[in-house]
């Protein structure tokens, strides 16, 4: 059993796909009740790390503890203890907002008597209750994101993973989303592990920041300490200084490529 003061402990984590070493010996720990930003350029290994933490992908090497459990040995215990908003959309478009949440509650063993109340609370929280009976395919990108956050919180997890929760959203929606998250962090002590490409968001909300590049951690600490040791004016400048100026030729997994093709095929809609 690990120390209860850390929600996530990762040691020497490695993930190798056939051709790519996506994650190459990453270590960090996330204090319970904190907001932790996991930053890095495209293809750095953020999503792969999250997939390993959330039992979707088996690590090649290294050890992980999430809420005291090992995702490889005790996947079900780990799954009970976290909520997740994936980088790509993962709602059922053909169902209503309410149904998406209701079904999630059923899958996660939320007591049936409590389900309607909790669904309402969470939908109120992200201000979507008045749209509860609309099919999700009629929602805007921002509404879908808010709904996914509500869904991720429905089973009252101890840790929330957010993989680029604000990408592609307008500043108003982004601010709203961070307000929701911060509120939960303040009031319930929810641990939040997130990735983002908006450096100012990380600087503003995260207590701890880790920067990963080419599968390796290149900086770790508070936003302030990283800015200071890089000798720059902002986290964005520090990020560029640490990870270089070149554009990443990101290859994307087969599934991502296919999803993109499909998205184009459907007229660019998500």
């Amino acid at each position: 059993m690990p120390a209860a003061d850390h929600s996530i402990i990762v040691k020497d984590l490695v993930k190798e796909y056939e051709a790519v070493k996506a994650v190459q010996g990453v270590s960090f720990s996330v204090p319970a009740g904190s907001m932790f930003a996991f930053l890095g350029p495209n293809g750095a290994g953020k999503t792969t790390t999250i997939k390993m933490l959330t039992t979707l992908v088996r690590p090649t090497a290294g050890s992980i503890t999430v809420n005291g459990y090992d995702p490889v040995k005790n996947p079900e215990e780990v799954r009970h203890s976290f909520g997740i908003v994936f980088q790509d959309p993962s709602l059922d478009d053909e169902l209503t907002a309410y149904e998406n949440l209701f079904f999630h509650a059923g899958l996660y063993g939320v007591p049936r008597a409590e389900t309607p109340g909790r669904v309402k609370d969470m939908m109120d929280f992200v201000e979507l209750w008045d749209r509860k009976d609309h099919l999700v395919k009629t929602f805007s990108g921002g509404m879908k994101r808010r709904l996914e956050i509500a869904r991720g919180l429905l089973h009252t997890p101890a840790v929330l993973f957010l993989d680029e929760p604000t990408t592609g959203l307008d500043p108003q929606t982004r601010n709203h989303i961070w307000e929701y998250i911060k509120k939960l962090n303040d009031e319930r002590g929810l641990t939040v592990f997130f990735t983002t490409h908006y450096m100012e968001e990380a600087e503003r909300v995260a207590k701890h920041v880790s920067i990963i590049d080419h599968g390796k951690i290149v900086a770790d600490g508070t936003a302030q300490s990283i800015i200071q040791s890089a000798g720059t004016a902002s986290l964005e400048d520090a990020f560029i200084k640490l990870t270089g100026r070149t554009i990443r030729e990101e290859e994307g997994s087969g599934m991502d490529q296919m999803r993109n093709m499909r998205r184009m095929w459907r007229g660019g809609k998500r």
Binding site: K51, T54, T55, L56, V57, E76, E77, R79, H80, I84, F86, D88, P89, S90, L91, D92, D93, E94, L95, E99, F103, H104, G106, L107, Y108, G109, R112, R151, G254, M255, M258, R259, R262
Partner: protein, 252 residues
Amino acid sequence: MKSNTIYAMYILWLRQVKRYFRSKSRMIGSLGQPVVFLVALGFGFGPVFAKAGGGNYIQFLSPGIIAMSIMFTAVFSGIELIWDKQFGFLKETLVAPVSRIWIMLGRTLGGATTAFLQGVIVFVITVAIGFRPDIAYVLPALLFMFGIALVFTAFGTAIASTMEDMQGFGLIVNLVNMPLFFLSGALFPLTSAPVWIQWIAFVNPLSYGVDGLRGALALVAQYSLWTDFIVLYGVAVLFVALGGWLFERIKV
């Protein structure tokens, strides 16, 4: 098995059934093929069949067409798995605290239920066209219909688990579906066909579904109802196990 597991399976089943009733166009669209087969073959080929001493062709054909519509709907419900992979919903179910095998089983039962319902609709249509089933055996007939649905939903899920795109899935499915359908005895008796065709029919699970259904509804069958039943549900168990094994190995 935890108590929540069954409820989680029910939720996955419910989702499939809801989606089925919501997509009326798909429901109605997939009735086109069986109706065309029934009308064109039933009325076009029927007289020839009767002249050759086969009896009333609608009586012979209807169980075959019911079986066909179930099989096609069932196999194609594998497409839903590929959609869920592409639209990301699958990930949501794979991080749920329920073992994958139960997730797969819930989905398969849901898909099988929709295929079964499709079969019931076609059943009603065959009666409207002139099929006169034996009412005494409707219950076993429904069991055979569900058995066919289960076998081929599990089959579709197994294939879809290994595929990443629709094209590949469509290709394989068409390659398998058509021969299985034509060589199942659904359209014509295979008892005087060449031996190699009889062998294919012998190892084709649909043969037993068709035979059982025809035995129950039209009272003509090659095997006993028990043989049909045991083979059909035996294959169902086998395919569900295979589907579960492949589903466990899905990469996201």
